[in-house]
Symmetry: C2
Subunit: 334 residues, 2 copies
């Protein structure tokens, strides 16, 4: 249950919105670069490497799509800020996990040590909120909507930290409940997706509620898929070894479902695992068919989210693009 690790871009939605989306995504990318490069030699190459390693930029894409083509600079700053928070959590996650690789590249913690990695994460995090507050408006002039955006992003950041703490509390517990797992996913992944779907622009209450539900549903599906990929790999696609979650003590849904068919899994001593043993546990989980079941559940959730969106009044190109993003979430390596 680490966060997003696959390098494939979601291009379909971008193609569809060719008229306006790519220019705005480029602007977000430019601002991300500025945010990281602007801090000179103190930050060094660390955060720059994480940034360059890229990722799908799925959260900024959702921000811009959900804000719509009529949204202004406030959507771009929100898209930038949400990716900075995501990057900060990746850097800190890697500290927590002592992870050597992220997206196939050395992590900040591996290349520069724990101290610099904690500080680099803090810096990215601080820049996220600085970005929301300072969009170039002259000082003293009010920036409408900033307080709403800060409240949403801070709320999602609180959820991320609580999710991490919950994950630590559940660590190495082979009998952890499905409810605890879902609670963790809601905090650790779904909250930021939900935030992405509403932070870019204020909308009528019914549409905002629909977008929140949509974000939460595809966020959970995204996490389910990530947890499947941790079991199945392949490492050359995911950029990390199979069983990384298990080595970290993190029991996810594929394990939880698998233990109903292979009760011996409950007896596995997760604290004593080495990488080879973790891969063998992954093989046992795969043998039960649980990963396929989890993948099916993720697809089902995405289908339900799309159906709910269609009933919400969101329509036309906007609906079509969001459906494409949703499909992209569950079609990684399938």
């Amino acid at each position: 249950m680490t966060r997003s690790s696959s390098p494939e871009p979601v291009t379909a939605a971008t193609d569809l919105a060719a008229a306006w989306l790519p220019a705005r995504m480029s602007e977000v990318e430019r601002r991300l670069g500025e945010n990281v490069a602007g801090w000179g030699s103190e930050l060094g190459a660390d955060a720059g490497e994480t940034l360059a390693a890229g990722g799908k930029r799925m959260r900024p894409l959702l921000v811009l799509l959900c804000a719509g083509r009529r949204a202004g600079v406030e959507a771009i700053r929100a898209a930038t800020a949400i990716e900075l928070v995501h990057m900060a959590t990746l850097v800190h996650d890697d500290v927590l996990d002592d992870a050597p690789l992220r997206r196939g590249l050395p992590t900040v913690v591996a290349s520069s040590g724990r101290r610099r990695a904690v500080a680099a994460g803090d810096l990215l995090f601080s820049r996220a909120f600085a970005t929301l507050a300072d969009d170039g408006t002259p000082a003293g002039r009010s920036r409408p909507g900033t307080d709403r955006q800060v409240e949403l992003l801070a709320g999602a950041s609180v959820a991320l930290a609580r999710g991490e703490l919950a994950q630590r509390r559940d660590a190495y517990d082979t009998g952890v409940s499905i409810e605890r797992y879902q609670h963790r996913c809601a905090l650790k992944t779904a909250a930021l997706f939900e935030c992405a779907c509403v932070i870019g622009a204020a909308r009528p209450a019914a549409e905002e509620a629909a977008l929140r539900d949509f974000g939460r549903a595809i966020g959970l599906a995204f996490q389910l898929l990530d947890d499947v990929l941790d079991v199945l790999g392949p490492p050359e696609r995911t950029g990390k070894a199979r069983g990384t979650d298990l080595l970290d003590g993190t029991v996810t849904l594929p394990f939880i479902l698998a233990r109903e068919r292979d009760a011996g899994l409950l007896e596995v001593d997760l604290e004593g695992l080495d990488p080879a043993a973790a891969e063998r546990v992954c093989d046992r989980i795969a043998a039960t068919g649980a990963p396929g079941q989890v993948r099916a559940e993720a697809r089902e959730r995405v289908e339900r989210a799309k159906a709910a969106l269609r009933e919400s009044g969101i329509s036309g190109e906007e609906l079509q693009m969001l459906e494409l993003v949703a499909d992209g979430v569950v079609e990684r390596y399938s």
Copy 2:
């Protein structure tokens, strides 16, 4: 060059402003408690312990004093938020330093491990910005001043992280320059003091500039004193062993001045120090008289800051209270 560690309250200014300050400080304390206690079992006792360990609450005190008695709830939320950021940096600092004690109590990292400590710091940090954005105003209603406060606090948080990164870059360098040391202090300590002096309420430009200078000056003095206390102790007052900075590779002004009189200090292998050897280096630094010189410099900076404040147009009880706080900064254990 760890951050504030001494447990003595600054009570003089509180006495003077008996009419209004204590009630507001209690409200800040109540909100701090709410911010930490409200997150249930995920956070557990960790952040709660850090909070209960207290500290001088010097930053919130500065926020409220500089905002003045006519300031409203926006000063209280800013005072709460700035202390939450400070607490977050303390928790993360202790992770970086693997520190066993803070103010004489076990640190979060010592009692709960590195993973929970990183996440606990992230949670406190997120709550700081959530606090600024959500002061109970009904959703959708604008909260004037939030964008200004977020910009100020995020800017100070960026400085804190850059200061930590700068400190890591200079680590174990016995020949580090005074300029680098001052640059680090500006980022790591003075920026948050400066922020505290202006975040509570908007003021006329000249007064705001004077308060910024004042905050920066006493912040630097505060750090100078902290660095003296790391060399001189006594541990039973500071709550940590002498030479903690040296063990961490951090070369501070007492060392820098001492090496001009005892050039052998340049040859000390900081990476090879154990606690007993670090104390012996502290004795060598003390023998040169450098700590007294640094303390004198701190006092001089405070005097200059007070003089500048008197010329700024700030007067009366307000001036008197700020002078008392400034004196409190350099009169720890003298």
